[in-house]
C-alpha cells in the first residue's frame, strides 16, 4: 500500500457529466429553467437532457417551438426577471439564427444598463465537426463569441472539465456559451467523486513536456495527446495545454509553458483564419516573444466549408498534421 491515498474517482462520459451538472444545479436552484426544442422526453438532439424532463417536469424543461432567435430572447427575459436560463441551440451552426439576441442583447444588457440588469444565462451547443453532416451542421464558431465582450466561452475536452466548468457556468451571473464537441460525448474519464468546480480562465496542463507546447481545444485535446505519445517515442517531449475557456483566456499557464519549451503549436477544428487560435497565437507572441525559438504554428480546420461525409476529416487537423507541425518547429533552426 502506498503512502498517499489517491482521491476516489468514478468513471463518467462527457455527455453524462453535462447532464449531471445540469441536474444537480436544477435540484439546488429552483429558478433554473431549460428552454429549447426537443429537450423534453426525447432528451435533446444529443441526449444531454435525458431524464431531466421526468425529474423536473414541463415547466422547467420547457420544450418549445422551433425558433432559436425568440428562444434566446425568452431566455434573456427569464434571466433578467430573476430566473436562470439554460438555452439549447442544438448544433452550434444554428446560433447564426439567434446572433442578435446573443450578441446585441444578452451579452450587452448588463453593460449598457450599467449593471442594473444581469443575464445569468447559459447557451449550450454541440459542435459536430467530424460527423460529416455537411456545411450547415459542422461549424466550430467559438471565435465569434470570443470576439464579443460580455460573453464567456467554455469549451471542455472531456468529462472532468465539462463537469467542473458546467458547475461554474451555472453559478455565473453572465452569459456563458458552453460548447461541446459530439465526438467527446462518449469518451469516459476518471472523475473525482468529491464535488469540485473549475474556475473560468484556468487552463489545464494536460501533459507535461519540455520541447514544445501544444495549445489544443476541445476534440483536438485527445488527438494532441496521441500525437505527443507518438513523438515521445522519437524523443520529443510535448507539453499540452487546454485553455478550457476562451473567454476568459488563461495566458499565464500558456506562456509559462511556452517559456519552458520555446515552441508552440495551436490546434483546433475551427477554420484557421480568424479562428480562436489566431488570438492565442497573437497573445503568445505578444507576451512571450523572447521565449520563442520560432513562430507559433497553427494546425486548424482548412478554410473550406465542411463537406458532407467522413472525408471531412481530411480538411481537419489530425495526429499526423500535428506531428508534422511540431517536428518542423523542433527540427528547423529559426
Amino acid at each position: 500500500m502506498s503512502d498517499t491515498v489517491a482521491d476516489p474517482t468514478r468513471t463518467l462520459a462527457m455527455r453524462e457529466a453535462v447532464t449531471e451538472a445540469l441536474a444537480e444545479a436544477m435540484e439546488e436552484n429552483p429558478d433554473i429553467i431549460l428552454l429549447g426544442q426537443d429537450i423534453g422526453k426525447y432528451g435533446g438532439t444529443f441526449g444531454v437532457y435525458r431524464g431531466l424532463y421526468e425529474r423536473f417536469g414541463p415547466d422547467r424543461i420547457r420544450e418549445g417551438p422551433l425558433c432559436e432567435s425568440a428562444t434566446v430572447g425568452f431566455g434573456t427575459g427569464l434571466a433578467i426577471s430573476g430566473m436562470r436560463a439554460v438555452v439549447e441551440i442544438s448544433f452550434m451552426d444554428f446560433s447564426t439564427v439567434a446572433m442578435d439576441q446573443i450578441v446585441n442583447q444578452a451579452a450587452k444588457l448588463h453593460y449598457f444598463t450599467a449593471g442594473k440588469l444581469k443575464v445569468p444565462m447559459l447557451i449550450r451547443s454541440t459542435v459536430t465537426s467530424r460527423l460529416g453532416l455537411g456545411s450547415q451542421h459542422s461549424q466550430s464558431l467559438e471565435a465569434w463569441f470570443m470576439h464579443i465582450p460580455g460573453i464567456k466561452v467554455a469549451i471542455p475536452s472531456g468529462a472532468t472539465d465539462a463537469l467542473g466548468l458546467m458547475r461554474t457556468a451555472l453559478r455565473d451571473d453572465n452569459l456563458v456559451y458552453f460548447i461541446e464537441n459530439s465526438g467527446l460525448y462518449a469518451e469516459e474519464e476518471e472523475v473525482p467523486t468529491e464535488y469540485y468546480e473549475i474556475p473560468f480562465g484556468s487552463a489545464r496542463v494536460v501533459r507535461p513536456g519540455t520541447d514544445a507546447t501544444v495549445v489544443a481545444l476541445s476534440s483536438m485535446v485527445p488527438i494532441a495527446v496521441a500525437a505527443a505519445e507518438q513523438l515521445e517515442e522519437e524523443g520529443v517531449s510535448v507539453e499540452i495545454v487546454d485553455p478550457r475557456t476562451l473567454s476568459p483566456l488563461d495566458m499565464d499557464t500558456i506562456c509559462e509553458s511556452v517559456g519552458k519549451t520555446g515552441r508552440a503549436v495551436v490546434t483546433h477544428d475551427a477554420h484557421g483564419t480568424a479562428g480562436p487560435g489566431s488570438e492565442i497565437v497573437a497573445r503568445i507572441q505578444e507576451q512571450a516573444f523572447d521565449s520563442l525559438d520560432g513562430p507559433v504554428l497553427r494546425v486548424c480546420g482548412e478554410d473550406i466549408p465542411l463537406p458532407a461525409g467522413l472525408s471531412v476529416s481530411k480538411i481537419l487537423p489530425d495526429e499526423a498534421k500535428l506531428i508534422e507541425s511540431i517536428r518542423t518547429l523542433v527540427e528547423k533552426n529559426w
Binding site: S69, G82, Q101, Q105
Partner: protein, 327 residues
C-alpha cells in the same frame, strides 16, 4: 389598474395626471430636440412627440409591480412608467447620474425599480425578451403583467411572429402594444405591410387583438386595461395596435422621408395633447386654468431636469470600463 376601465373609472385628478404626464413627455422631448441641435445629444435621438397618448394611456393601465420594455423611441415610455426625469435627461446627455450611468444613452434606458426593464435599439429585439420576462412572472406566480412597445416596422421582423406563437402556446401574461405611426424610418407601411392593419397579424395565432386610436389617451388606456385584465387572470397575451402619426421625422440624425410637406405635418392635426385638453374641458373634468397649471408644471420639471443634466459630469472612463461582466 382600471377595472374594465374607461375614462369614468379615473378620478378627475387621475385624468389631469395623465394630461400632466403627456405634457411632461412633450416638454422633455422638446428639450431633447433642442439639446441635440446644439450637440448635447451626439449621434441620434428618436423622440416620441405625438405618441404621448399611447405610452401614457398604456402605462396608466399597469400596476406598479408590472414590467415594461420599450424601444429606442423610449423616452416617453420611460416617463409614462414612472421613471425619474432627471435620470432620463442625464442619460440622454450621457452623464454619470443617468439611469444607465450615461453608457446607454438615448436608446438604452433602464429603471427596473419603476418596472422599466430596458429599451432596445435593435428593432423587434425586445419583443421576445418581454415574452421571457412574462414567462418568468407566470412561472413564479408573481401576478405581474409584462408590456412591450414596438413599432410598425418591428411588425415585419420574424421575432414578432415567433413571440406571438410562443406567447399564445404558453399563455403568458404579455401585452404587446404596437405604436403604428405609419413609418419605419423612410418606409411607409404601404411598402412594408401586406395589409395596413398590424392587428391582422394576430389572426394566425388566434390571439386577441384590438385596434385603437393611438391619439386618444383614454381609448388606449381602456384597451390596454382590458388586455392587462386578461393577462392577469391567466387569459394570455393580447396585441393592441395604436394608430398614430409620426412627428415629422424619424430621428435627429435621420429625417425619414415624406412625399410632401403635408404628410410631414399631418401629426399636428391629430396631436393628442390639445385633443385631450379639449376633451377634459368639454367633459368638465378640469378647468382650463388647472390644465394650464399642469402644463406649466411639466415645462418647469423638464427644464429643471435639463439643467440638472447639463450640469452633471459626463460619464467617466472608469464608468465606461465597468460592467462588462457581472461579478
Amino acid at each position: 389598474m382600471p377595472d374594465e376601465a374607461n375614462g369614468d373609472s379615473l378620478s378627475p385628478e387621475g385624468e389631469v395626471e395623465l394630461y400632466f404626464k403627456m405634457c411632461l413627455i412633450r416638454a422633455v422631448e422638446e428639450h431633447v430636440v433642442s439639446a441635440a441641435s446644439i450637440g448635447l445629444v451626439p449621434g441620434s435621438t428618436h423622440v416620441s412627440i405625438g405618441q404621448e397618448a399611447i405610452t401614457v394611456g398604456a402605462c396608466s393601465a399597469l400596476d406598479p409591480k408590472d414590467l415594461m420594455l420599450a424601444t429606442y423611441r423610449g423616452h416617453g415610455a420611460f416617463l409614462a412608467n414612472g421613471g425619474d426625469i432627471k435620470e432620463l435627461m442625464a442619460e440622454i446627455m450621457l452623464r454619470e447620474p443617468g439611469c444607465c450611468a450615461g453608457k446607454g444613452g438615448t436608446m438604452h434606458l433602464s429603471d427596473p425599480e419603476h418596472g422599466t426593464l430596458l429599451t432596445s435599439a435593435i428593432v423587434a429585439s425586445q419583443i421576445p425578451i418581454a415574452g421571457g420576462v412574462a414567462l418568468g412572472c407566470k412561472l413564479r406566480n408573481t401576478g405581474q403583467v409584462v408590456m412591450t412597445f414596438f413599432g410598425d416596422g418591428a411588425a415585419c421582423e420574424g421575432e414578432f411572429f415567433e413571440t406571438m406563437n410562443m406567447a399564445k402556446i404558453w399563455n403568458i401574461p404579455l401585452v404587446m402594444v404596437c405604436e403604428n405611426n405609419g413609418y419605419a424610418l423612410a418606409t411607409p407601411i404601404s411598402k412594408s405591410q401586406a395589409t395596413p392593419d398590424i392587428a391582422d397579424r394576430a389572426k394566425g395565432f388566434d390571439m386577441p387583438a384590438e385596434i385603437v386610436d393611438g391619439n386618444d389617451v383614454i381609448e388606449v388606456r381602456n384597451a390596454v386595461a382590458r388586455a392587462v385584465n386578461r393577462a392577469r387572470s391567466d387569459g394570455g397575451p393580447t396585441l393592441i395596435e395604436c394608430k398614430t402619426v409620426r412627428y415629422g421625422m424619424h430621428s435627429t440624425r435621420s429625417p425619414g422621408y415624406y412625399d410632401n410637406k403635408e404628410d410631414a405635418n399631418a401629426w399636428r392635426d391629430v396631436d393628442p395633447i390639445p385633443r385631450f385638453r379639449a376633451a377634459l374641458i368639454e367633459r368638465e373634468v378640469a378647468l382650463p386654468a388647472a390644465l394650464e397649471e399642469a402644463e406649466a408644471r411639466a415645462k418647469m420639471e423638464a427644464l429643471d431636469a435639463r439643467e440638472f443634466a447639463q450640469a452633471a459630469p459626463l460619464t467617466s472612463i472608469e464608468t465606461i470600463r465597468a460592467n462588462v461582466f457581472a461579478e
